[in-house]
Amino acid sequence: MLKITLDNLPKLLAALSELGELQVPCENKSGKVDFEKWNAEKRPRFDITLTSKSAKDLFFPQVEDLLAFKTKGKNLSIEQIMPSDKKVILMGVRACDIKSFELLDKVFLKDPVDTYYKARRENTLIIGMACSEPEETCFCGSFGIDATAPGGDVTTWITKDALYWQANTEAGKTLTEKVADLMEEAEASKVEEQAAVTKAVLEKMPLANFKVAGKIPQDELKTFNSKIWEEISAGCLSCCTCTYVCPTCHCYDIRDYAVSDNHTERYRCWDSCLASDFTKMAHGNPRKTKVERFRQRYMHKLVYFPNNNEGDFACVGCGRCLQKCPVNLNIVKVAKALEVSEDV
């Protein structure tokens, strides 16, 4: 394990940014912290547990051009628009978000492979960061995630005075070699100490005992027909906030944009199963009502996804939806309702 004092951290960041595009949580002008390309003027905010948006944006951006078709006379040409092949170093990712990459991989890297996602994913090196000050909305533990051991190509811990660094993968080791000069050897004891404190805090959190696995009936039809949906969805506004801040939601729509008479671009953009025009086809929308759409989102996260992915729920307990829902509806409420509901 290596360490670097926080005073010298900018030097490490500078060195890393030489090796690739360094993305770290930064505060923008209006006070939101999100992953941004680092430069010497930007102050990283590793003290913030959760970025406003999840880290999935790096691999699955809100909007992404796919291809362009151009006509010249009667000839049509199609060009694929691939993401740039620049190396990205994504630093300061929490355990929950790192777990989300694993879940997204199951979607995008399965056959048929999403080449755009794959390109971005392969070009990115992940430096995880352990949590030390969890929020009351955190419930990654419910999914067996250890907030103090996030993984990634490299894992880091931040204490009062230093950043601790541990390479996990080959790529992580290669990276470490290039910046090791800036750091010194360190004992793991400080890190272990911190982890114990963090775990103790997590235990005091309201959601410490909230569990999903084994609690929610995985019988698709039964859960689907549960009586809870009508009532619990009543408050939902059908906005897409939860979807867009969720690190595991991955639906998108594909649209065309006419740049000019003979030039059209095809792009994809985030979409949400809560939107009334989601998967709308010529005959209309397959899920006509808010209840059906609301049910779809949670059935997918809590039932369909685990049933198709070795029991992995499509939730990592980051708590963003708990923080952001305009009307305080969230996956915890739904899961709890399903659990207590007698008819499932």
Binding site: S276, H283, G284, K288
Partner: protein
């Protein structure tokens, strides 16, 4: 796949002189969906139209773009042409490459480029055109004439003679208007009343004419062929059906402090009065603001003296509603206020009068029984000064910039009949120009100078002063000699400018008729449609459209009548199909649109609609009455959900044009 034909017109050299029409044709041929493009010398000609028709047959065109002059010119022509070959007329778009291109640009390259762009925009729009079908509406065979002066009377008589019902609406207690006040008319000097009153009687007796005097227009809705009008018949306080018109009440009325409107304030009238002897109807009216009974509760003399018991103090305004197919505006004129012309002494000296007051002073039925006297002294004047263009042709901002047109002639008339009756009275006319175009007009004015010895001085009157004794001093300049003049006439007559009636603006907004900056009603076309308002079904007669003399007024009145007759002769009218249309599937029924519709054409109707989810639901949605909608599009922008769209100018069509031009 659409098949668009593009037809580029040369308009002789009008377009082809500046636009390379062949290049336009070549450029549009490359655009997808353009199946055929050609240019021709005169597309609007029979031969040109044949080219279009042949191309439609040969290439199976379903949409037509004509690059030519303004659609205001020939859109109708090309629509008809399309219709004749079985294409819906609304599948035609015009690219205006003459007025907007060849006529405003000089460089051929630049003009050609712009022409191509305009053609592209028209092609982009026509792709989204849909066949539209005009609806039909019934025509109510009744006309309303607003204003009962000579213009209104003549219009009504002509319409009535053609066999159609016509109502005259007059705000004063009698019809007759300004012409009834005039003594004699130029250039023949025949008695105004002698030629007017028979017409008034004709109108009153005509079986097809109904006269509503002392009445106002309360509300108008509807559209050409189908106007719904509410008329407020103000309370006369006299039962018209019982009153014999004997006039005893008007003589006995003790409240005599109100200046007579008809006599231009030169004498007072009673609170109950008949404006003049030949008034129609000859039924008095109580001016409630002047009447002691109404003001104090005490009096009631008229009621006592009335032999028929016709006085009714409790009478109330009556609202009557009627349907009309056409409305004629004949609201006439009034004289401008002279408050901005304090330098001319009007209002300060009684001996400074307006021309209309002079008409009353010389009229045998007037306050002086036709004796010309100075109002202040009651004595015959020894010299009179007439000042032209008071408030006319005035660019200083005090008056009107236009020429009132009738003053030069009536000044000559006034001067002439003063000199005729009182040869010893000296008459001087100050003028800027003497304008006498008209049959026999110039001869008339020359007679004033040559036979009657009227002094015409080209020059302006700067100031008119009045001393304690009421003696007037006129300060003027003689432009021909360059001298300053100082005259001491006994009487000064101001030929003041005319202006449209006070309520012209209010009426215009009620009727959605256009008015110009001077409040004169605007005609649909200054040359080709001079008696029609741009608003269908509204026609113009007389001074309300612009200054004119009696012969012109009468001929315009006849012309307006002819147009009305033409309209009423139709059983049905085709309505404009470019109306608003509501997509009921997404209409939320907020009815914001109803607030901005000037025609009340939109209403909320509860009906079963198919929702976006394909389910059925009963809810209120906006429904457009196509017969009422005039297609302005105000609702389309007010609509928050874009469920309201305007046919012929849909969001898609306009945006296609935007995209094509950007």
């Amino acid at each position: 796949m659409q098949k668009i034909g593009v037809f580029v017109c040369w308009c002789g050299s009008n377009i082809a002189g500046t636009v390379d029409v062949a290049a336009v044709v070549e450029a549009v041929k490359k655009i997808p969906d353009v199946a055929y493009a050609v240019d021709y010398k005169y597309m609007c000609s029979e031969e040109g139209q044949k080219i279009i028709k042949d191309a439609v047959e040969e290439y199976g065109l379903d949409r037509i773009v004509v690059c030519s002059c303004s659609p205001r010119m020939h859109e109708a022509t090309f629509r008809k042409c399309a219709e004749s070959i079985g294409i819906n007329p609304y599948m035609v778009e015009i690219a205006n490459i003459r007025e907007q291109c060849s006529w405003v640009l000089k460089d051929v390259k630049v003009a050609t480029e712009k022409a191509i762009q305009l053609a592209k925009a028209a092609i982009a729009k026509v792709r989204f055109n849909n066949p539209l079908h005009p609806g039909q509406s019934q025509v109510v065979k009744r006309a309303l004439v607003i204003g009962g002066g000579i213009a209104g009377i003549q219009t009504a008589l002509d319409i009535a003679d053609a066999g159609y019902k016509v109502d005259i609406l007059e705000k004063e207690p009698t019809i007759g208007g300004k012409m009834a006040q005039i003594d004699k008319t130029f250039p023949t000097l025949d008695c105004s009343a002698c030629i007017l009153t028979p017409k008034m009687v004709d109108a009153a007796c005509h079986e097809n004419i109904t006269i509503h005097t002392y009445s106002d227009l309360e509300a108008v809705s509807g559209y050409v062929g189908n106007f719904d009008v509410t008329i407020r018949k103000k309370a006369r306080s006299v039962k018209a059906d019982i009153c014999s018109g004997c006039g005893i009440c008007t003589e006995k009325c003790p409240a005599r402090k109100t200046p007579s409107e008809f006599d231009e304030g030169l004498r007072n009238r009673g609170a109950i009065y008949i404006p003049f002897a030949q008034a129609i109807p000859k039924v008095p009216v109580i001016d409630r603001e002047a009447c002691l009974k109404f003001k104090t509760g005490k009096c009631g003399v008229c009621s006592i003296v009335c032999p028929n018991g016709a006085i009714d103090y409790t009478q109330e305004d009556e609202l009557i509603t009627e349907k009309y197919g056409a409305i004629v505006l004949a609201t006439g004129f009034e004289l401008i206020d002279l408050e901005n012309y304090g330098n001319l002494g009007y209002g300060r000296s009684k001996n400074v009068i307006t021309s209309m007051q002079l008409e009353r002073l010389t009229n045998a039925a007037g306050p002086t029984e036709g004796h010309l006297v100075c109002p202040a002294s009651g004595k015959e004047p020894k010299s009179v000064v007439i000042v032209s263009c008071v408030g006319s042709r005035d660019t200083s901002g005090r008056g009107k910039t236009y020429c009132s047109k009738v003053c030069c002639m009536y000044n000559a008339k006034h001067a002439m009949y003063i000199r005729e009756k009182y040869p010893n009275v000296d008459v001087t006319v100050f003028y800027i120009d003497v304008r006498t175009p008209g049959k026999g007009f110039d001869e008339f004015q020359r007679r004033a100078v040559e036979e009657y010895g009227v002094h015409y001085v080209r020059g302006q009157v700067g100031k008119i002063m009045s001393d304690k004794e009421g003696n007037l001093t006129v300060f003027a300049s003689d432009l021909n000699s360059g001298r300053h003049l100082m005259l001491n006439p006994d009487l000064v007559v101001l030929a003041c400018a005319v202006k449209p009636a006070k309520d012209a603006r209010k009426l215009a907004s009620m009727l959605t008729a256009s008015i110009d900056t001077n409040d004169f009603y605007v005609e649909a076309h200054p040359k080709l449609r001079p008696v029609e308002s741009p608003t269908a079904g509204i026609f113009l007669s007389g001074m309300c459209q612009g200054p004119k003399d009696i012969p012109e007024t009468v001929s315009q009145a006849g012309a307006a009548a002819a147009k009305v007759i033409g309209l009423l002769a139709k059983d049905k009218l085709m309505t404009n199909p470019c109306t608003a249309k509501c997509n009921e599937q997404i209409c939320s029924g907020c009815l914001t649109c109803t607030n901005v519709c000037p025609y009340g054409a939109i209403s909320g109707v509860e009906k079963e609609v198919v929702t976006l989810n394909g389910t059925r639901e009963k809810r209120v949605v906006a429904v457009v009455n196509e017969a009422l909608c005039q297609g302005c599009g105000a609702c389309t922008v007010a609509c928050p959900s874009a469920s309201m769209d305007l046919q012929g100018f849909t969001n898609k069509q306009i945006l296609a044009e935007v995209d094509a031009l950007c």
